[in-house]
């Protein structure tokens, strides 16, 4: 029999609190690299200037330990829980929410969560988190906090396309989503695209594609080529950084797929801004 490893819930709370603060103040290295590359390829001087301001802001945030953006988001938390882990002293959900409350208080982060979508009373501590749990092999617990701002989240879209819509339908939907979003999601944007699965699954695929910030090209050459093609089509639209014109409308397009039904072709675009943040730790 495998031995069971015990992780105290307080350790989870401590970890989530740290990750909230780190994610909101330190832009992931990959996003910084993409911004630097965009600065080199952007031909339009006003757009170059905006890209420079954006890069400077990330440096100011990290060195002065202040939030990169005032919208420190809703805390989306991914927990990969090894099935040989026992969480002692409380539930995972309570531990995560306590971590979010503490991180947003201690980090002087903005509290942007309301209890009820229609009656709209701020909860005052940025809880509850949006928690996605996956059971994995082993005895580790991996936590990722991805604070999501709603300027970009609001510009996300989902469509239940049909098999006849096919590849062309997916491409048209992605481009239309970017065009409709225009300047609103703080371009340069990052796109997470989910294709396949069911209605609820495709939205999560899109979110994961955005949060995981996969290193390197898509492992499947078919989708690697599609990501490249979408990115270059988007960067011909002319929206540009801040929406005032330029090549750099998007920094990256990441696709995640899942098997789907013979009758369906769900597609979802989760819109990310240039402050697409996350922080990860494994306990």
């Amino acid at each position: 029999m495998e031995s069971i490893r015990t992780i105290p819930s307080a350790a989870i709370t401590d970890c989530v609190a740290r990750l909230c603060i780190r994610a909101c103040t330190v832009l992931p290295g990959q996003v910084v690299t993409l911004l630097e590359a965009a600065g080199r390829t952007e031909p339009y001087p006003p757009a170059q200037n905006t890209l420079r301001l954006i890069r400077q802001n990330a440096v100011v945030a990290a060195t002065k330990n202040v939030p990169i953006c005032q919208d420190t988001g809703m805390a989306v938390v991914f927990a990969e829980v090894g099935q040989d882990v026992h969480i002692a002293g409380g539930t995972l959900e309570d531990a995560v929410n306590a971590g979010v409350a503490r991180g947003y208080a201690e980090g002087w982060l903005r509290k942007s969560v309301i209890r009820d979508p229609l009656r709209r009373q701020n909860t005052g501590d940025n809880t509850p988190a949006v928690l996605h749990v996956r059971l994995t092999a082993g005895d580790h617990l991996k936590l990722t906090v991805s604070p999501k701002g709603f300027g970009s989240e609001n510009m996300s879209r989902l469509a239940m396309l049909t098999p006849a819509d096919g590849l062309e339908g997916v491409k048209a939907f992605v481009l239309e989503t970017v065009r409709l979003a225009g300047a609103n999601p703080c371009p340069p944007i990052m796109l997470g695209v989910g294709i396949g699965g069911t209605f609820e699954q495709v939205a999560l695929l899109a979110k994961e594609a955005l949060v995981e910030l996969r290193e390197g090209p898509h492992p499947d050459p078919y989708y690697a080529a599609l990501e490249e093609e979408l990115l270059s089509s988007i960067n011909r639209l002319g929206i540009g950084p801040q929406g005032f014109g330029g090549r750099t409308t998007a920094l990256s397009v990441r696709i995640k797929t899942a098997p789907t039904h013979i009758a369906g072709l769900p597609v979802a675009v989760n819109m990310g801004c240039h402050v697409t943040r996350h922080a990860t730790e494994t306990l």
Partner: protein, 185 residues
């Protein structure tokens, strides 16, 4: 070269601005986002005074992070203006003269800006760590129950902005994108 300007604006200065102008704004602006706008418009519809006299003033669509001890302001930056579109024509008719946010506006807002001689400015979204350095003080004036969405008076210095829609209704989103596309044709 950016123009150094003061808020509140005089009508003469507002009228002289052109879409695409770069501005460094100093003076006083008031924050208000979705929830405060809803309350403003309820008050205006009922013929009641607003909690802060905003006639002739500048509204900044912003909800800053809390001010840490020893600092003048938390991180601050513009939120998406489109969400304020439904509330904006009545506020411009009431007398608000300048708006600061990010993103495009509706045709109704453009028409109301022209009609009331008001202008729409934008700040770079997602640069809140840098913009915080332009805020000298933050004071909650109304609706403290709204938390970050309360109405705050900000004293600012050299806040970098672009004129997105001028008092003639010229729109720099349209113009800027057109200029870029022409430059690469």
């Amino acid at each position: 070269m950016a123009l150094s300007l003061q808020s509140p604006f005089t009508q003469q200065v507002l009228d002289s601005l052109r879409a695409g102008d770069q501005v460094l704004l100093s003076g006083v602006v008031y924050t208000a986002r979705d929830a405060a706008h809803a309350r403003f418009c309820t008050a205006l519809a009922a013929g009641e005074p607003l909690p802060v006299d905003l006639r002739g003033q500048t509204i900044f669509y912003a909800g800053p992070t809390p001010t840490p001890p020893g600092k003048a302001s938390g991180a601050i930056g513009p939120t998406t203006s489109t969400r304020m579109d439904p509330y904006t024509p009545p506020l411009l008719a009431y007398g608000v003269k300048a708006l600061i946010g990010k993103g495009q506006r509706s045709e109704e807002v453009k028409a109301a800006l022209m009609q009331n001689g008001a202008a729409y400015f934008v700040a770079v979204g997602g640069c809140a760590a840098s913009l915080a350095a332009c805020v000298q003080s933050v004071e909650v004036l109304a609706y403290p129950d709204l938390g970050t969405e309360s109405v705050k008076k900000l004293v600012i210095r050299d806040l970098p902005l672009t004129v997105a829609i001028d008092t003639r209704g010229e729109d720099f989103y349209r113009e800027g994108q057109k200029r870029y596309l022409e430059s690469v044709r």
